[in-house]
């Protein structure tokens, strides 16, 4: 077994193990962290396949950004684990059926008859000067420029959708904070008004009572 094979089996083994842990572990935050390990080891496998750019982008985008989003969503959902475990036995047959159908479809499309050295041939290994990034980039920006611009449209739709779904205007009562500028600029006549009132003389009740009592 060559050194490359050893590295491949290490990455592939970690990847499969982490994927298995990700779907079996109970705590959704831990599941997200196992998914991070899956992504990182999958990036290692991609690097071995000499697609360096895709491997590094997998780490940059998926591990760096998408997993943050996953953790946010997982935390925001406020999941009650006891409720999630309910009805597992009830839905298990349906889930198994769906899994079987999906597996069958994938098997039909990418089954073992499409792979093997007689079908694909040995992968060509390249020298140290080979840049996979260039190999990807040249067709991406010329031959597939239309799809590339469509990607920009998709990102634009993503921006608009995220803002439309989550942005809400908050009223001035939602957050109370000091406007120091206004506080400094305020003058006494803005706050305090002197009101001139005609003096009111109340009838002297107490002296009357005394007089009445004295008469008795």
């Amino acid at each position: 077994m060559s050194f490359e094979q050893l590295v491949f089996y290490a990455f592939a083994g970690i990847s499969s193990l982490a994927a298995l842990m990700m779907i079996t572990v109970r705590n959704p935050v831990k599941a997200a962290l196992w998914l991070v390990l899956t992504f990182i080891s999958a990036a290692g496998v991609w690097l071995l396949a000499e697609s360096e750019f895709l491997g590094l982008v997998l780490i940059l985008v998926y591990v760096g950004a998408v997993m943050v989003l996953f953790l946010f969503v997982v935390m925001m959902l406020d999941i009650n684990l006891a409720e999630m475990k309910e009805g597992f036995a009830q839905y298990a047959p349906v889930g198994a059926l769906v899994a079987l159908v999906v597996f069958g479809l994938i098997y039909l499309v990418v089954g073992p008859e499409h792979f093997g050295l007689d079908k694909t041939g040995l992968p060509v290994t390249h020298g140290p000067d080979y840049s996979n990034t260039k190999e990807i980039a040249v067709p991406l920006y010329t031959q597939h420029a239309y799809a590339f611009v469509l990607a920009a449209v998709l990102l634009l739709v993503g921006i608009v959708a995220a803002i439309a779904l989550t942005l809400r205007r908050r009223g001035p009562r939602d957050a109370l904070y000091q406007d120091i500028d206004a506080q400094v600029r305020v003058r006494a006549e803005d706050r305090l008004t002197m009101v001139k009132m005609a003096p009111e003389v109340e009838p002297d009740v107490s002296s009357k009572n005394e007089e009445e009592e004295g008469a008795k």
Binding site: E4, F72, M75, S131, T133, F148, A152, I163, R170
Partner: protein, 118 residues
């Protein structure tokens, strides 16, 4: 090509060893006296009243998703910069269209106030 990545593999292996090694050594050499109290949450003498997980503002999510979108934009810029002298004017124009579309999105989010935190 792969020989260029040998130093990175060495770093990865060393990183794993540095991370996992102390835990394993601590587990093997340290005394182990398990106790229920050691695992119980300590909150000034009381058991925890409620779950640590709580709902938080959806604006954090908005910031994260906007970050991802512009992160992807940057990811597209790297290979473009590598081959800029090979793809010529057409490549330049295609990137200009790409960036123009995203600038529309950027202006939209700016004007909408999605970048404001108040």
């Amino acid at each position: 090509m792969l020989e260029n990545y040998l130093p990175i593999l060495v770093f990865v292996v060393l990183g794993i060893l540095f991370g996992v090694g102390p835990i394993v050594v601590g587990y093997l050499l340290g005394p182990q006296k398990p106790d229920d109290e050691k695992l119980s949450p300590y909150e000034c003498g009381f058991e925890a009243f409620e779950d640590a997980r709580m709902k938080f503002d959806v604006r954090f999510y908005l910031v994260a998703i906007l970050f991802i979108i512009f992160d992807l934009e940057i990811a597209f810029l790297f290979p473009w910069a590598v081959v800029l002298d090979e793809i010529g004017t057409f490549g330049l124009v295609s990137m200009a269209v790409f960036l123009a579309l995203l600038v529309v999105g950027f202006i939209y989010e700016w004007r909408k106030g999605a970048l404001e935190w108040e």
